[in-house]
């Protein structure tokens, strides 16, 4: 790892109908609080960025999300990304105008890849994050892209899709291992390494963090420059500061809290 790289610790807030929830393997939901309150707390704790994932299906819920973004922009002065339900450029524009710094696209970008180039053309590649939910397929001996929050499989190879997304203008890849998500067994290092070696843009590792060492593994072994986690922070198991101290003790440069 280049010594000028400073790794980012990124709490993820899954939001539905204006509340933060955490899905375990994308299903069981537990209520974890007000998103704006949590976002401000993470900012104060020294989080480097935040990700809001809107898991609402209804259009009423989407309006609520715009309101969450707008209120967050008034209180939180670190970069934040909003994903979930970004289907067209207009959806991205709404979130960015409300105060988000980046949008992440997932299902709609697989179905219509020009969504990535269209958003990048209007707002710049730096604000387009391509989120990829990937799952190991033993028969094909590779990771396959899943859509709709992990409910729908595709024929798409995750590493190839990441490369294509970057070629289209994605400025960053948010890579979630569906095999690990919610397990607390650590990131899928092989997957993370495969994608981070294939693309030139930053990769954020996601899915499976159970200990602080897992965060460091994602950077040192997986080649990620951002590490994303939810449960270990939401339920008070660990603070951002503890995460950064551990990463620092393992030789990773971080912004101290």
């Amino acid at each position: 790892m280049n010594s000028d790289i400073v790794a980012r610790v990124i709490p993820c807030l899954d939001v539905t109908n204006g509340r933060v929830v955490k899905g375990i393997n994308f299903v069981d939901l537990r209520d974890a609080g007000d998103p704006v309150e949590l976002a401000a707390r993470y900012d104060a704790q020294g989080a480097d960025e935040l990700v809001f994932l809107d898991i609402t299906a209804s259009s009423d819920g989407r309006d609520t999300m715009v309101d969450v973004v707008s209120r967050t922009a008034e209180e939180v002065f670190i970069p934040f990304t909003v994903g979930g339900g970004i289907r067209e450029v207009g959806d991205a524009r709404r979130m960015l105008r409300a105060g988000a710094d980046k949008v992440s696209v997932n299902t709609a970008a697989v179905q219509r890849p020009e969504l990535i180039s269209d958003i990048a053309a209007e707002f710049g590649a730096q604000c387009v994050v391509c989120a990829i939910d990937a799952k190991w397929d033993a028969n094909r001996n590779s990771w396959i892209v899943y859509l709709h929050g992990g409910r729908t499989s595709t024929d798409l190879d995750a590493v190839q899709w990441a490369e294509h997304a970057v070629a289209l203008g994605a400025g960053e890849i948010l890579l979630t291992s569906m095999d690990r998500d919610g397990t607390r067994d650590g990131f899928d290092i092989a997957l993370t390494k495969a994608v981070s070696s294939a693309v030139g843009v930053p990769v954020i590792a996601s899915g499976g963090v159970g200990t602080l060492d897992h965060l460091a593994d994602g950077v040192l072994d997986g080649g990620a420059t951002g590490v994303l986690a939810a449960s270990i922070f939401h339920f008070g198991d660990h603070t951002i500061s503890e995460a950064k101290n551990l990463m620092s003790s393992r030789g990773i440069r971080v912004r101290p809290v």
């Binding site: 400073v6 707008s70 002065f77 105008r97 710094d101 730096q126 400025g171 420059t225």
Partner: protein
């Protein structure tokens, strides 16, 4: 200070202007997003933000007739802050789009970060301060700021450089020339250190 300084944030349809406005309000300014020459000319300070591509930003600025407005504000002597591509536009031109002409306020050019390191630099990094600059007051010796960029400013005259960071090379990331201050990083997204810098900018209005 009893009256909140009025800060005009130049709105030419590019990027996330709301966060710049909210951050300025947070540190005590009355911040307005505007493309109105009259509003800008009566403001106590002016901010030129920008994200995306150099050429696209210059075109957008010219399309809403803000190029002259920005240059007039600078000539008037009010505190002026350029952020990110808003900083880059103050130079003569950029390697990103060699056809596009910049504002030519800071003589020099914007150049690519060396390809030996991941581009863009999308992370926090620690400043090395090169000037006894009032906007750095109370930020500590090496404040952390948030960056998203693939190019950086190289002025003809090094004395305009106010701060650098190490990223593949020593990159110039803040500049001072008279009433103009400019940052490659995003103070509005740099938590307490960024808000501290903006606070210093806003209070410089009455200084």
């Amino acid at each position: 200070m009893t009256v909140r300084p009025r800060v005009a944030v130049l709105d030419y349809g590019i990027g996330n202007l709301r966060s710049a406005q909210k951050a300025l309000e947070k540190v005590g300014a009355d911040a307005v997003l505007t493309s109105d020459a009259v509003v800008v000319s009566s403001a106590d300070a002016v901010v030129l933000p920008g994200v995306g591509a150099f050429g696209a930003c210059m075109n957008a600025l010219r399309d809403v007739q803000l190029e002259k407005v920005a240059l007039d504000a600078i000539a008037s002597g009010v505190p002026f802050l350029g952020i990110c591509v808003g900083m880059q536009m103050l130079f003569d031109g950029s390697e990103e789009d060699t056809e596009a002409r910049g504002l030519g306020v800071i003589p020099g050019h914007v150049k690519w970060i060396p390809p030996t390191v991941q581009r863009p630099q999308m992370q926090w990094n620690q400043l090395n301060l090169k000037k006894d600059e009032p906007l750095f007051n109370n930020l500590g010796e090496h404040p952390w700021m948030y960056f998203v960029h693939s190019l950086h400013g190289v002025p003809n005259d090094d004395s305009f450089v106010a701060a650098t960071v190490e990223y593949g090379a020593t990159l110039n990331v803040a500049f001072r020339k008279g009433n103009v201050f400019a940052t490659q990083f995003h103070p509005e997204k740099s938590a307490t250190s960024g808000l501290g810098l903006l606070h210093n900018f806003v209070t410089s209005v009455n200084a």
